[in-house]
Symmetry: C2
Subunit: 236 residues, 2 copies
């Protein structure tokens, strides 16, 4: 894989709550420089980063109800539409975890449909991803976790979502795992899979890609793609 092919799978991410404007705009500039798949940032920065990235071909990805997912669906829908109006081309929504844990497809679908309808009314081709917090779901036990992931995938597909995503990166239960990615791949037919949370080196990134991830959310990607490039210049 060339550096460019790897970069095209990575969402260059800065979501720590204390991130400054300078830090976020540096990530945005790196997004354009390395042609990452997107620049993933908090709602408060979307307008500014979108303006900076205009014409670069690199979209801004924003997050909704991040990282707890406990906002009401009506507020999630509003936060999504505001981000799209501000220029976001991709939106990562945190699902309400107890609904997922209970395998309540109808309730998760109702929530995701409300967000999707609102966001697509502003921009029809906005890319929508749902964060299932898979490490938490799998901490409930393998069988229950798998059922919850299956429920989340079905609700996402039936709501017209484009991606299912493992993790916020902020839940104490942990981030992405090859097991979780494989389950998203299995149940997320027709959608793409984003792995995120704790992917900090090339070995972990490669494990996620091997398990079936289409995209990686990473906050330290510049160091990794540079190092990987040194290891195998021109591709592997």
């Amino acid at each position: 894989m060339t550096q460019a092919e790897l970069a095209a799978k990575i969402e260059h991410t800065i979501l720590k709550p204390e991130a400054t404007e300078a830090e976020v705009m540096k990530v945005a500039a790196e997004g354009a420089q390395y042609r990452f798949a997107s620049v993933c940032i908090a709602p408060v920065w979307v307008a500014k980063a979108s303006a900076a990235l205009r014409g670069s071909g690199v979209p801004v990805c924003s997050v909704v109800a991040f990282p707890h997912g406990t906002s009401k669906s009506t507020v999630k829908a509003i936060e999504a539409t505001v981000a799209v109006k501000d220029g976001a081309g991709e939106i990562d929504v945190v699902a309400h975890l107890p609904l997922l844990a209970a395998g309540n497809v109808d309730a998760v679908r109702a929530e995701l449909l409300e967000v999707a309808k609102a966001a697509r009314a502003v921009r029809r081709d906005v890319v929508l991803k749902v964060i299932l917090e898979t490490a938490y779901l799998l901490s409930l036990g393998a069988e229950r976790g798998e059922a919850a992931i299956a429920a989340g995938c079905r609700a996402a597909r039936e709501s017209g979502f484009d991606f299912v995503k493992t993790s916020t990166g902020f839940h104490p239960a942990g981030g992405a795992s090859a097991v979780a990615v494989a389950l998203l791949k299995k149940y997320g037919e027709g959608m793409l899979v984003k792995a995120s949370g704790g992917i900090r080196d090339w070995a972990t990134a490669k494990a996620m890609l091997d398990a079936g991830a289409d995209r990686l959310g990473m906050s330290g990607a510049v160091g990794i793609i540079s190092a990987e490039c040194r290891m195998s210049p021109g591709g592997a």
Copy 2:
């Protein structure tokens, strides 16, 4: 202090993102039973818990942009008004941390004013608290942290907020401390102080009260007030 006096200072809290309806409604019922100062819960549960607590004299406290504070101010204002319409009597808003860290009083005040105007338009006497994430601010250094806390307190007072509050309980820098409470007391003149985050035993709770806290946000309060009551029946 009698058990009733202690309970009247405690906000009985459940804010973990995976909290189920059954867990939240148990906390609400305990709120009424022990007459806590409030029941502090996520937005998605406010309508249901408010209905259950109607007539109990115990208000529901909800959170806004929790726990990162990185939602746009317009979305924070909407989330606050939705919670008040759902029945919340108290609202804890997470400030945007980099604005605080920079000591940017004008920007913090603009954000808090927008939330306060919107919330008070629905219910004039809603109790408003701002979460400053003091452990993070103090991790920037004692002098810079104190300046940031002073800026946050000034912005809150000038926006008509009722309380300044230490922590979300979810930031890796930590929760409440006696130092932080003392600084909120010093700079928060005319407002009340809420200590929260990591207050899990009576010794810590007492240290916060001794430092000047008017309210404590706690998730394990029933065990503590029962134990404290056994230690000193009828008061101390």
